[in-house]
Symmetry: C2
Subunit: 345 residues, 2 copies
DNA sequence: ATGAAAGCGCTAACAT
DNA sequence: ATGTTAGCGCTTTCAT
């Protein structure tokens, strides 16, 4: 390994001078400057970041704790974090809790995994990370993550009660906007397929729909608001029921894409054309929807953007110790597909 | 921050002793041992890994360069790497090249991004990583990644000419096995929808199919071997053509899942039942296939396992400098769905 | 069983 | 403009 001293010796100067040259800390004669640079290049010198970090008490390392890398949105968020990190000269230490395989569908019982979280936090703290970003696998409220550790922290795609900065998206608002779109197309009879009733995003999205409906003076029959399990199969069954009755809706709003595809297949089965006879929308802009005809109108949360913002927040906190906690809510995009038109009736 | 010395002072011993206690390097009286441990716990001491790494010239850091976190298999591979890393007490430094957005479909023109790769490698080397795992976004041959740097390296989900250890999977063999399954079910007339003809996995998989066909003495009409673009839409069109002719095949083998779903939708449109009238298979075990009925029979490469093996290989190299390069090929699983049965004719 | 001391590679205040 | 020096927090040899 080539060190500062090796360069210094070869250049006939001292380590300090080499350091000055490399860090551009002024006052070095152009001659030595060039000599040092040349030798450094020749020898393939690369500064030992560990040593520098130790000395500066600043690692330029950001710990990213993800509840699960395999969760659908996680990679996009990581991508955003990474993009911002690279730009600002930070490296990412990735810690993967692998919650999905551990808790299956019990999204709420995260507290049982507090140990795993503590362990991850302590390990990262030991690595002297300058800050930690905690990336949830679902958008929901979770217990505090930091157990007594002092370290800038930002929650991303989740948040915590009262404390901590967080970055999220506009579940309620975007569904309000989407619903208005349906209304403006002339739809008056709807079917809604929500996710699980114990899911926060599900309820938030419903609230947005409700608001638009209320404003339009439309009351949706309770039988037409159903809770699925976010999956294709059940949504398909629900859609068959909705579409088989006499008062069949002209539009079905599914609260995620898998379920929207379920609706689409139910319609196909029943020879109901989309969008001519039935309009459908999903949520997530996931693969499920992108590779299927007709392209289903859906909502795309700006996940990569969320990661970027999380990184920006954490850097603010790092640079400015007294930065207060803030909550960022990013607007989502409505992706127009070919699954929504005016009602044919 | 609490340091060794803080503990030492409080315990009335020297830093060395505390170090002995914490690292269990024998010879410490039980009394001091307990006292030190107690104080350390009270003060919430956590060893500064940076300092230790510097001193030991060993960072327990593995650099993971991924061509794109957003590529479909990348998160699963990362998950495997992570699992193995955690078990062995290593941390992951993640470097994301974000190639997908940069090169779109030009998978082969990676050399243009040699700079990005070099930069990532140098940065990681500067962080004193003990080894580097390079995770491809497609399974293919790429140029050497290390430009003169001395550092243990393992390629995962890709490989390089001659040099370097790598972990891959059995494209050809698993397709041979899958094809035999079709043959054993009694199928004799096939349609094959491959991916792009310039794609390595596509050609490898075709080779496996061909071998099984040859062994069974079956010749497939050239018109029934078509190259798609890995996407739903085109595959759907191809399937419609295949299924509209008079000699329609009893089975269509698609070389990935999106295309298999395209086949499934084409069949649905033409009122051809799956699996009664047509058997279909995909490849990847992706979302596209898991959330759709009928469940499509497909192939699941063991991606997480690949990540784990990559980690194991790199650790071998780290512990054993003269470890020679090896190539690991992991067997894939055939996932039985409901889309394959015997031909009805 | 414990301490003293040196040093990993780098930086920065201070001296020349 | 360059050198001297001390030290970041830790480990480890050698001494006691």
């Amino acid at each position: 390994m080539v060190t500062l001293r090796d360069i210094a010796k070869e250049a006939g100067v001292t380590a300090a001078t080499v350091s000055y040259v490399l860090n551009g800390s002024g006052k070095v004669s152009e001659a030595t400057r060039e000599r040092v640079l040349k030798i450094a290049k020749e020898k393939g010198y690369r500064s030992n970041v560990l040593a520098r970090s130790l000395r500066n008490n600043k690692s330029n390392l950001i710990g990213v704790i993800v509840e699960d890398v395999q969760a659908k949105m996680t990679p996009k968020i990581i991508d955003g974090i990474n993009a911002a990190a690279e730009e600002k000269g930070y490296q990412i230490l990735l810690s993967n809790l692998r919650l999905m395989s551990k808790i299956d569908a019990q999204f709420s019982h995260i507290s049982a995994y507090q140990e795993d979280i503590d362990h991850a936090v302590h390990t990262l703290a030991g690595m002297q990370v300058d800050g930690i970003i905690y990336v949830g696998m679902h958008d929901r409220c979770i217990p505090h993550v930091l157990g007594g550790i002092e370290c800038p922290l930002v929650y991303c795609y989740c948040y915590t009660q009262g404390e901590g900065s967080s970055v999220g998206y506009d579940n309620t608002d975007v569904m309000y906007r989407l619903t208005r779109m349906f209304l403006e197309q002339g739809h008056r009879s709807f079917g809604i397929i929500a996710g699980r009733s114990d899911s926060e995003p599900s309820m938030k999205r419903l609230r947005g729909i409700q608001k638009a409906m209320d404003e339009a003076g439309i009351r949706i029959d309770e039988k037409m608001i159903r809770f699925g399990d976010w999956q294709y199969e059940k949504a398909r069954e629900i859609a068959v029921e909705m579409l088989s009755g006499k008062d069949r809706p002209t539009a079905i709003i599914a609260l995620n894409d898998e379920m929207a595809v379920g609706v689409r297949d139910a319609a196909m089965e029943l020879q109901i054309r989309i969008p001519e006879d039935l309009s459908v929308s999903g949520f997530d802009f996931s693969d499920a929807v992108q590779f299927v005809t007709p392209h289903i109108t859906t909502v795309q949360p700006q996940l990569s953007r969320m990661g970027q913002r999380a990184m920006e927040l954490i850097l603010n906190k790092i640079e400015n110790a007294e930065q207060e906690n803030i909550t960022v809510v990013l607007p989502s995009k409505i992706i127009d597909g070919d699954s929504v038109s005016g009602p044919s009736v």
